[in-house]
Protein backbone atom coordinates (compact mmCIF):
# COMPACT_ATOMS: atom_id res chain seq x y z
CA UNK A 1 0.00 0.00 0.00
CA UNK A 2 1.59 3.26 -1.14
CA UNK A 3 0.74 6.17 1.07
CA UNK A 4 1.65 9.83 1.19
CA UNK A 5 4.68 10.66 3.32
CA UNK A 6 2.89 12.63 6.00
CA UNK A 7 6.12 12.77 8.01
CA UNK A 8 7.30 15.43 5.53
CA UNK A 9 4.69 17.91 6.82
CA UNK A 10 6.07 20.75 8.92
CA UNK A 11 3.05 22.77 10.03
CA UNK A 12 2.05 22.65 13.69
CA UNK A 13 -1.76 22.62 13.69
CA UNK A 14 -2.28 24.46 16.98
CA UNK A 15 0.20 27.23 16.10
CA UNK A 16 -1.23 27.59 12.59
CA UNK A 17 -4.83 27.85 13.78
CA UNK A 18 -3.88 30.30 16.54
CA UNK A 19 -2.00 32.46 14.05
CA UNK A 20 -4.87 32.34 11.54
CA UNK A 21 -7.59 33.23 14.04
CA UNK A 22 -5.51 35.96 15.68
CA UNK A 23 -5.31 37.56 12.25
CA UNK A 24 -9.07 37.12 11.63
CA UNK A 25 -10.45 38.53 14.90
CA UNK A 26 -13.90 39.32 13.51
CA UNK A 27 -14.48 36.02 11.70
CA UNK A 28 -17.42 33.77 12.45
CA UNK A 29 -15.82 30.36 12.97
CA UNK A 30 -17.37 26.90 12.55
CA UNK A 31 -15.29 23.89 13.54
CA UNK A 32 -15.42 20.28 12.35
CA UNK A 33 -15.60 17.58 14.99
CA UNK A 34 -12.46 16.14 16.55
CA UNK A 35 -9.09 17.83 16.56
CA UNK A 36 -10.08 20.98 14.60
CA UNK A 37 -12.63 21.74 17.34
CA UNK A 38 -9.85 21.35 19.93
CA UNK A 39 -7.41 23.47 17.87
CA UNK A 40 -9.86 26.36 17.59
CA UNK A 41 -10.75 26.22 21.29
CA UNK A 42 -7.05 26.05 22.22
CA UNK A 43 -6.52 29.27 20.24
CA UNK A 44 -8.91 31.00 22.65
CA UNK A 45 -12.62 30.58 23.29
CA UNK A 46 -14.79 33.16 21.47
CA UNK A 47 -18.53 33.78 21.38
CA UNK A 48 -18.28 33.73 17.60
CA UNK A 49 -17.02 30.13 17.54
CA UNK A 50 -19.49 27.36 16.79
CA UNK A 51 -17.98 24.04 17.81
CA UNK A 52 -19.26 20.81 16.29
CA UNK A 53 -18.86 17.63 18.32
CA UNK A 54 -20.74 15.49 15.78
CA UNK A 55 -22.66 15.93 12.51
CA UNK A 56 -19.64 14.62 10.63
CA UNK A 57 -19.51 15.98 7.09
CA UNK A 58 -21.61 19.01 7.99
CA UNK A 59 -19.10 21.67 9.06
CA UNK A 60 -18.57 23.38 5.70
CA UNK A 61 -22.32 23.30 5.05
CA UNK A 62 -23.14 24.88 8.40
CA UNK A 63 -20.62 27.48 7.24
CA UNK A 64 -22.51 27.86 3.95
CA UNK A 65 -25.88 28.53 5.60
CA UNK A 66 -24.19 30.98 7.96
CA UNK A 67 -22.27 32.77 5.18
CA UNK A 68 -25.46 33.21 3.14
CA UNK A 69 -27.32 34.54 6.18
CA UNK A 70 -24.50 36.94 7.13
CA UNK A 71 -23.11 38.21 3.82
CA UNK A 72 -21.34 41.17 5.47
CA UNK A 73 -19.37 38.97 7.88
CA UNK A 74 -16.40 36.70 7.18
CA UNK A 75 -17.06 33.02 7.82
CA UNK A 76 -14.20 30.57 8.40
CA UNK A 77 -14.74 26.82 8.64
CA UNK A 78 -11.87 24.94 10.27
CA UNK A 79 -12.18 21.21 9.76
CA UNK A 80 -10.15 18.07 9.11
CA UNK A 81 -9.55 15.85 6.11
CA UNK A 82 -11.76 13.03 7.41
CA UNK A 83 -14.65 15.36 8.18
CA UNK A 84 -14.45 17.07 4.80
CA UNK A 85 -14.16 13.76 2.98
CA UNK A 86 -17.47 12.68 4.53
CA UNK A 87 -19.05 15.85 3.17
CA UNK A 88 -17.18 15.82 -0.13
CA UNK A 89 -20.32 16.45 -2.20
CA UNK A 90 -20.93 19.56 -0.15
CA UNK A 91 -18.00 21.21 -1.88
CA UNK A 92 -20.06 21.15 -5.10
CA UNK A 93 -23.08 22.48 -3.22
CA UNK A 94 -20.99 25.36 -1.85
CA UNK A 95 -19.61 26.15 -5.28
CA UNK A 96 -23.14 26.32 -6.70
CA UNK A 97 -23.88 29.16 -4.22
CA UNK A 98 -20.54 30.96 -4.54
CA UNK A 99 -20.70 32.97 -1.30
CA UNK A 100 -17.98 35.64 -1.32
CA UNK A 101 -17.44 35.46 2.43
CA UNK A 102 -16.71 31.79 3.07
CA UNK A 103 -13.29 30.24 3.66
CA UNK A 104 -12.85 26.53 4.26
CA UNK A 105 -9.64 25.53 6.01
CA UNK A 106 -8.97 21.79 5.95
CA UNK A 107 -6.29 20.70 8.42
CA UNK A 108 -5.01 17.66 6.59
CA UNK A 109 -2.82 15.17 8.42
CA UNK A 110 -3.84 12.30 6.17
CA UNK A 111 -5.33 10.41 9.09
CA UNK A 112 -8.45 9.89 11.15
CA UNK A 113 -6.94 11.29 14.32
CA UNK A 114 -9.79 10.72 16.74
CA UNK A 115 -10.12 6.99 16.11
CA UNK A 116 -6.58 5.63 16.13
CA UNK A 117 -4.78 7.42 13.31
CA UNK A 118 -5.98 5.22 10.46
CA UNK A 119 -4.93 6.54 7.05
CA UNK A 120 -7.56 8.69 5.36
CA UNK A 121 -8.11 8.97 1.62
CA UNK A 122 -5.82 11.99 1.42
CA UNK A 123 -2.96 9.64 2.33
CA UNK A 124 -4.00 7.47 -0.60
CA UNK A 125 -3.75 10.13 -3.29
CA UNK A 126 -6.94 12.17 -2.99
CA UNK A 127 -6.22 15.90 -3.07
CA UNK A 128 -9.04 17.90 -1.50
CA UNK A 129 -7.73 21.13 -3.05
CA UNK A 130 -7.90 19.47 -6.48
CA UNK A 131 -11.40 18.19 -5.69
CA UNK A 132 -12.44 21.74 -4.75
CA UNK A 133 -10.96 23.12 -7.97
CA UNK A 134 -12.74 20.42 -9.97
CA UNK A 135 -15.97 21.44 -8.22
CA UNK A 136 -15.42 24.94 -9.60
CA UNK A 137 -13.76 26.70 -6.66
CA UNK A 138 -10.92 28.64 -8.26
CA UNK A 139 -9.32 29.81 -5.01
CA UNK A 140 -8.44 26.31 -3.85
CA UNK A 141 -4.85 25.70 -2.89
CA UNK A 142 -2.44 23.70 -0.78
CA UNK A 143 -0.46 25.21 2.09
CA UNK A 144 2.80 23.49 3.00
CA UNK A 145 4.54 26.12 5.12
CA UNK A 146 3.30 28.02 8.17
CA UNK A 147 4.44 31.30 6.62
CA UNK A 148 1.68 30.92 4.02
CA UNK A 149 -0.94 31.69 6.67
CA UNK A 150 -0.94 35.22 5.20
CA UNK A 151 -2.42 33.85 1.99
CA UNK A 152 -5.28 32.26 3.91
CA UNK A 153 -5.88 35.40 5.98
CA UNK A 154 -5.93 37.43 2.77
CA UNK A 155 -8.45 35.01 1.27
CA UNK A 156 -10.72 35.29 4.32
CA UNK A 157 -10.98 39.06 3.91
CA UNK A 158 -10.82 39.46 0.15
CA UNK A 159 -14.46 38.67 -0.73
CA UNK A 160 -13.30 37.13 -4.00
CA UNK A 161 -15.44 34.00 -3.76
CA UNK A 162 -15.07 30.81 -1.77
CA UNK A 163 -11.57 30.11 -0.50
CA UNK A 164 -10.52 26.53 0.09
CA UNK A 165 -7.18 25.99 1.82
CA UNK A 166 -5.79 22.50 2.36
CA UNK A 167 -3.19 22.76 5.14
CA UNK A 168 -0.61 20.00 5.29
CA UNK A 169 -0.14 19.60 9.07
CA UNK A 170 2.03 17.29 11.11
CA UNK A 171 0.24 14.14 12.24
CA UNK A 172 0.75 14.92 15.91
CA UNK A 173 -1.41 13.48 18.65
CA UNK A 174 -1.82 16.57 20.84
CA UNK A 175 -3.50 16.92 24.22
CA UNK A 176 -7.19 17.55 23.80
CA UNK A 177 -8.55 21.01 24.51
CA UNK A 178 -12.25 20.62 25.13
CA UNK A 179 -14.81 23.39 24.57
CA UNK A 180 -18.38 23.17 25.81
CA UNK A 181 -20.30 20.15 24.54
CA UNK A 182 -23.63 21.84 25.23
CA UNK A 183 -24.82 22.62 21.72
CA UNK A 184 -27.77 24.71 22.87
CA UNK A 185 -25.45 26.92 24.93
CA UNK A 186 -22.91 27.32 22.14
CA UNK A 187 -25.67 28.07 19.62
CA UNK A 188 -27.37 30.68 21.79
CA UNK A 189 -24.05 32.30 22.71
CA UNK A 190 -23.10 32.52 19.03
CA UNK A 191 -26.46 34.01 18.03
CA UNK A 192 -26.37 36.48 20.89
CA UNK A 193 -22.98 37.70 19.67
CA UNK A 194 -24.71 38.50 16.35
CA UNK A 195 -27.55 40.28 18.13
CA UNK A 196 -30.17 37.52 17.97
CA UNK A 197 -32.27 36.67 21.02
CA UNK A 198 -33.03 33.09 21.99
CA UNK A 199 -36.59 31.94 21.30
Amino acid sequence: MTVRNTAAATIDRRAFVRDLLTKCPDALVVTGLGSPTYDVFAAGDRDKNFYLWGAMGGAALVGLGLALAQPDKFVVVVTGDGEQLMGIGGIATINAQKPKNLTIVVLDNGHFGETGMQYSHTSHGTSLAAVARACGIENAYEVHDASEVAKVVDGVHKRNGVNFAQIFIKADDLPRALPSRDGVYVKNRFREALGFAPL
Binding site: L28, V30, F50, L52, W53, G54, A55, M56, G57, G58, A59, L61, V62, G63, L64, G65, L66, A67, L68, A69, Q70, K73, G87, G89, G90, A92, T93, A96, Q97, G183, V184, V186, K187, F190, R191, L194, G195, F196, L199
Partner: protein
Protein backbone atom coordinates in the same frame (compact mmCIF):
# COMPACT_ATOMS: atom_id res chain seq x y z
CA UNK B 1 -40.60 32.75 -14.62
CA UNK B 2 -40.73 33.25 -18.35
CA UNK B 3 -43.11 30.37 -18.95
CA UNK B 4 -45.89 29.29 -16.59
CA UNK B 5 -45.36 25.60 -15.90
CA UNK B 6 -48.30 23.37 -15.03
CA UNK B 7 -48.77 22.96 -11.28
CA UNK B 8 -51.40 22.33 -8.65
CA UNK B 9 -52.77 25.12 -6.44
CA UNK B 10 -51.42 23.43 -3.29
CA UNK B 11 -47.90 23.78 -4.69
CA UNK B 12 -48.36 27.54 -5.03
CA UNK B 13 -49.82 27.50 -1.50
CA UNK B 14 -46.58 25.99 -0.19
CA UNK B 15 -44.49 28.64 -1.89
CA UNK B 16 -46.67 31.40 -0.41
CA UNK B 17 -46.46 29.95 3.10
CA UNK B 18 -42.67 29.75 2.87
CA UNK B 19 -42.33 33.25 1.50
CA UNK B 20 -44.75 34.84 3.98
CA UNK B 21 -43.04 32.87 6.75
CA UNK B 22 -39.74 34.61 5.95
CA UNK B 23 -37.99 31.48 4.77
CA UNK B 24 -34.84 32.79 3.09
CA UNK B 25 -32.90 29.63 2.27
CA UNK B 26 -34.59 26.69 0.57
CA UNK B 27 -32.29 23.70 0.32
CA UNK B 28 -33.43 20.82 -1.81
CA UNK B 29 -32.78 17.60 -3.61
CA UNK B 30 -35.33 17.85 -6.42
CA UNK B 31 -38.56 15.94 -6.69
CA UNK B 32 -41.34 16.37 -9.23
CA UNK B 33 -43.72 17.28 -6.42
CA UNK B 34 -41.44 20.12 -5.32
CA UNK B 35 -40.61 21.33 -8.84
CA UNK B 36 -43.02 24.28 -8.78
CA UNK B 37 -41.81 25.57 -5.41
CA UNK B 38 -38.19 25.20 -6.53
CA UNK B 39 -38.87 27.23 -9.69
CA UNK B 40 -40.67 29.91 -7.68
CA UNK B 41 -37.88 30.11 -5.09
CA UNK B 42 -35.19 30.57 -7.75
CA UNK B 43 -37.26 33.37 -9.32
CA UNK B 44 -37.85 35.13 -5.96
CA UNK B 45 -35.12 37.68 -5.07
CA UNK B 46 -35.74 37.46 -1.31
CA UNK B 47 -35.18 33.69 -1.31
CA UNK B 48 -32.28 31.49 -2.24
CA UNK B 49 -32.58 28.01 -3.69
CA UNK B 50 -29.76 25.71 -2.64
CA UNK B 51 -29.38 22.53 -4.67
CA UNK B 52 -27.79 19.71 -2.65
CA UNK B 53 -25.87 16.60 -3.63
CA UNK B 54 -27.42 14.69 -0.72
CA UNK B 55 -30.22 15.60 1.66
CA UNK B 56 -28.16 15.60 4.87
CA UNK B 57 -26.34 18.67 3.58
CA UNK B 58 -29.61 20.53 3.94
CA UNK B 59 -29.83 19.75 7.65
CA UNK B 60 -26.43 21.38 8.13
CA UNK B 61 -27.25 24.35 5.86
CA UNK B 62 -30.51 24.99 7.73
CA UNK B 63 -28.64 24.94 11.04
CA UNK B 64 -26.05 27.40 9.75
CA UNK B 65 -28.81 29.67 8.45
CA UNK B 66 -30.39 29.82 11.90
CA UNK B 67 -27.03 30.54 13.50
CA UNK B 68 -26.86 33.53 11.17
CA UNK B 69 -30.42 34.65 11.91
CA UNK B 70 -32.21 33.30 8.86
CA UNK B 71 -34.96 30.73 8.44
CA UNK B 72 -34.44 27.80 6.08
CA UNK B 73 -36.45 24.85 4.83
CA UNK B 74 -35.38 21.50 3.40
CA UNK B 75 -37.33 19.98 0.51
CA UNK B 76 -36.78 16.35 -0.34
CA UNK B 77 -38.55 13.14 -1.25
CA UNK B 78 -39.04 10.27 1.16
CA UNK B 79 -36.01 8.36 -0.12
CA UNK B 80 -33.83 11.27 1.03
CA UNK B 81 -34.93 11.10 4.65
CA UNK B 82 -32.73 8.08 5.25
CA UNK B 83 -29.69 10.04 4.13
CA UNK B 84 -30.30 12.62 6.87
CA UNK B 85 -30.42 10.49 9.98
CA UNK B 86 -27.06 11.12 11.69
CA UNK B 87 -26.98 14.76 10.61
CA UNK B 88 -30.28 15.21 12.45
CA UNK B 89 -28.22 14.83 15.65
CA UNK B 90 -27.27 18.45 15.02
CA UNK B 91 -30.91 19.47 15.35
CA UNK B 92 -31.39 17.71 18.66
CA UNK B 93 -27.98 18.51 20.18
CA UNK B 94 -28.35 22.23 19.50
CA UNK B 95 -32.16 22.42 19.40
CA UNK B 96 -32.19 24.12 16.02
CA UNK B 97 -35.60 25.01 14.60
CA UNK B 98 -36.13 22.82 11.55
CA UNK B 99 -38.73 22.60 8.80
CA UNK B 100 -38.73 19.95 6.11
CA UNK B 101 -41.29 19.17 3.42
CA UNK B 102 -41.16 15.60 2.20
CA UNK B 103 -42.91 14.37 -0.92
CA UNK B 104 -43.82 10.72 -0.46
CA UNK B 105 -42.99 7.98 -2.90
CA UNK B 106 -43.63 4.28 -2.51
CA UNK B 107 -47.10 4.51 -0.95
CA UNK B 108 -49.73 5.17 -3.65
CA UNK B 109 -49.88 3.56 -7.09
CA UNK B 110 -46.11 3.14 -6.94
CA UNK B 111 -44.58 1.57 -10.01
CA UNK B 112 -41.04 1.35 -8.66
CA UNK B 113 -40.63 -1.15 -5.83
CA UNK B 114 -37.23 0.33 -4.94
CA UNK B 115 -39.07 3.34 -3.49
CA UNK B 116 -41.07 1.26 -1.04
CA UNK B 117 -38.62 0.29 1.76
CA UNK B 118 -37.54 3.84 2.59
CA UNK B 119 -41.11 5.03 2.16
CA UNK B 120 -42.27 2.63 4.87
CA UNK B 121 -39.47 3.82 7.18
CA UNK B 122 -39.81 7.55 6.49
CA UNK B 123 -42.11 8.63 9.31
CA UNK B 124 -40.69 6.22 11.88
CA UNK B 125 -37.07 7.07 11.23
CA UNK B 126 -37.70 10.79 11.57
CA UNK B 127 -39.67 10.25 14.77
CA UNK B 128 -36.81 8.16 16.14
CA UNK B 129 -34.59 11.21 15.55
CA UNK B 130 -36.97 13.40 17.56
CA UNK B 131 -38.73 15.10 14.67
CA UNK B 132 -42.44 15.86 14.79
CA UNK B 133 -44.07 14.45 11.67
CA UNK B 134 -47.26 15.90 10.21
CA UNK B 135 -48.98 14.67 7.09
CA UNK B 136 -51.06 16.29 4.37
CA UNK B 137 -53.34 13.97 2.39
CA UNK B 138 -55.69 16.43 0.69
CA UNK B 139 -54.91 19.45 -1.45
CA UNK B 140 -57.13 21.72 0.63
CA UNK B 141 -55.25 21.00 3.87
CA UNK B 142 -51.69 21.48 2.60
CA UNK B 143 -51.56 25.22 3.24
CA UNK B 144 -52.79 24.97 6.84
CA UNK B 145 -50.53 22.10 7.75
CA UNK B 146 -47.38 23.61 6.24
CA UNK B 147 -48.17 26.91 7.93
CA UNK B 148 -48.67 25.17 11.29
CA UNK B 149 -45.37 23.31 10.84
CA UNK B 150 -43.55 26.54 10.02
CA UNK B 151 -44.86 28.22 13.17
CA UNK B 152 -44.05 25.18 15.32
CA UNK B 153 -40.49 25.26 13.98
CA UNK B 154 -39.65 28.95 14.09
CA UNK B 155 -41.93 30.17 16.88
CA UNK B 156 -41.93 27.01 18.99
CA UNK B 157 -38.37 25.90 18.23
CA UNK B 158 -39.45 22.43 17.16
CA UNK B 159 -38.09 20.16 14.48
CA UNK B 160 -40.97 19.43 12.12
CA UNK B 161 -41.49 17.58 8.86
CA UNK B 162 -44.61 17.56 6.71
CA UNK B 163 -45.15 14.48 4.60
CA UNK B 164 -46.94 15.30 1.36
CA UNK B 165 -48.93 12.23 0.36
CA UNK B 166 -48.12 10.62 -2.96
CA UNK B 167 -51.83 10.78 -3.77
CA UNK B 168 -51.51 14.60 -3.90
CA UNK B 169 -48.99 14.28 -6.67
CA UNK B 170 -50.82 11.50 -8.47
CA UNK B 171 -49.69 8.64 -10.60
CA UNK B 172 -46.34 8.98 -12.22
CA UNK B 173 -46.49 8.44 -15.94
CA UNK B 174 -43.90 5.81 -16.78
CA UNK B 175 -44.53 5.25 -20.45
CA UNK B 176 -43.84 8.19 -22.72
CA UNK B 177 -46.32 8.56 -25.58
Amino acid sequence: MSEEQPHSPWQEDIFNVLKQGNIRQVAYVPDAGHAHVIRRVHAEPSMRGIVLTTEEEGVAVASGAWLGGERAALLMQSSGVGNCINMMSLLQSCRFPFLSLVTMRGEYAEFNPWQVPMSKATQGSMELMGITVLRAERADEVEDIVSAALDAAFEGGEQVAVLLSQSLIGRKKWIRN
